[in-house]
């Protein structure tokens, strides 16, 4: 036992440095997000959950994001990260997780990117049960392009392209992801930092398509166009109007304008991933001729001793 090498730290850091500074590209700071925007909080939760899950090796994590305010997240995180074109974060992540099965792929992007322009990719990635984590930051609006109506904008909410109120019903994201076959579906707000962090820690150790919707305040466009105050007022609104119900009926999770937000972990099940199904099908057809791509179940988890701890 005494032969075990001490854990290695990449570079020296003073004791008074921010504990997450190893995971961030500090040279790019301060970031572009507005004061009282919730996106920094979500990135903070993501980083903290990676820090506090010592089983997960940060060298085996890839962050992919698309275009938008949330798409900037990949640029601020010091992992293998990629900023793709609009809506194509999920196809890129699909390719990455297939070609490098030892990486845990995290897609960090916004509602406009994942659900509207990349909506088709979302449903098919969930249907195939690709092994990846999707963190979809929902701020109800296309914020970076000037506040246009998004598929998640609640009915009656104003945006710059619907100045008298939006007439369309919004997407119910947890229901959409769960009905397409996602194995983990949760919804939190930017205020539920501890639960969000715990949720991401759970998901990092899990196989399959995991979808976490995070409702985040947008002070500059959504709150301003709808006279909702600042982001801090929206956080107070989440505090008063969000309700945690893990057993909620997925159909009842619609978000109405100034209405209740039901949060919780709605789906958590195990089902074979794309690679499991592919191997099974080919073994069935080819028999002994088929040589599967041999990898442990949780390749991104650092050592065997840690893996045993998880099983216990």
């Amino acid at each position: 036992m005494s032969e075990e090498a001490p854990p290695k730290i990449m570079r020296r850091k003073p004791v008074t440095d921010h504990p997450m500074s190893d995971l961030l590209r500090i040279d790019r700071f301060p970031h572009v997000w507005c004061p009282t925007c919730g996106l920094g909080t979500v990135v903070n939760c993501l980083g903290t959950s990676i820090l506090k899950t010592p089983e997960v090796d940060p060298n085996h994590i890839a962050v992919v994001s698309g275009i938008g305010c949330a798409g900037r997240g990949a640029g601020y995180l010091r992992f293998d990260s990629f900023h793709t074109t609009h809506g194509r974060a999920l196809p890129f992540a699909t390719g990455l997780s297939l070609s490098r099965p030892d990486m845990k792929v995290i897609v960090f992007s916004g509602d406009g990117d994942i659900v509207s322009i990349g909506g088709n990719h979302l449903i098919h990635a969930a249907r195939r049960n690709m092994d990846m984590v999707v963190i979809c930051v929902n701020n109800f609006i296309y914020a970076m392009t000037g506040g246009q109506t998004a598929p998640t904008t609640p009915t009656h909410a104003r945006s710059s392209t619907s100045p008298f109120g939006n007439s369309d019903p919004p997407f119910n994201l947890p229901y959409l992801a769960a009905s397409c076959g996602a194995t983990y579906v949760a919804r939190w707000t930017a205020l539920h930092v501890r639960r969000l962090q715990k949720s991401i820690s759970e998901v990092l150790k899990k196989k399959g398509f995991s979808f976490i919707e995070v409702i985040s305040p947008c002070p500059t466009l959504y709150a301003r166009l709808n006279n909702l105050g600042t982001g801090l007022d929206l956080m107070r609104f989440y505090h008063d109007n969000s309700e945690i119900n893990n057993d909620a009926d997925l159909k009842s999770l619609d978000i109405n304008f100034k209405g209740k937000i039901i949060c919780g972990k709605f789906v958590d099940l195990d089902s074979p991933t794309y690679r499991d199904r592919y191997d099974e099908e080919n073994e069935h057809i080819l028999g002994d001729k088929f040589i599967p791509y041999d990898l442990p179940d949780f390749p991104h988890i650092s050592s065997n001793s840690d893996k045993e701890k998880i099983e216990k």
Partner: protein
């Protein structure tokens, strides 16, 4: 709320205490930490930082119980809490130093032997 019975190990229990570090020039004055600190430790400052925002400051640091909520909720990565405990700081320092020394020492040991 008073406990109905005094816990038997009450002498051994110690309320944790945190030391708050604020990177003033990174703060954008959003007020999340001030609003949601469970012990009302933080307050908004009247002074300006380099970017022209009013940063948060620890007004009642003695009340801090090292719960890390401000660290987790801060969107700017501008605030963090370390356990205000001599032992933990020594451990942290020792940890970093030994790792660095190990990488340097290993080849030198081989040469000397």
């Amino acid at each position: 709320m008073k406990p109905w019975q005094t816990p038997l190990d009450v002498d051994k229990q110690k309320t944790p205490h945190g030391k708050i570090h604020i990177i003033v020039d990174r703060c954008k004055g959003c007020g999340f930490c001030v609003e949601y600190c469970p012990r009302d430790v933080l307050e908004m400052s009247d002074e300006y930082n380099q970017k022209g925002y009013h940063p948060a400051f620890a007004a009642h640091e003695e009340k801090c119980i090292n719960c890390d909520l401000c660290e987790l909720i801060c969107p700017e990565f501008a605030i963090f809490v370390l356990k205000d405990d001599d032992e933990s700081e020594d451990k942290l320092k020792g940890h970093v130093d030994t790792v660095l020394d190990d990488s340097d020492e290993e080849p030198s040991d081989e040469k000397s032997s």
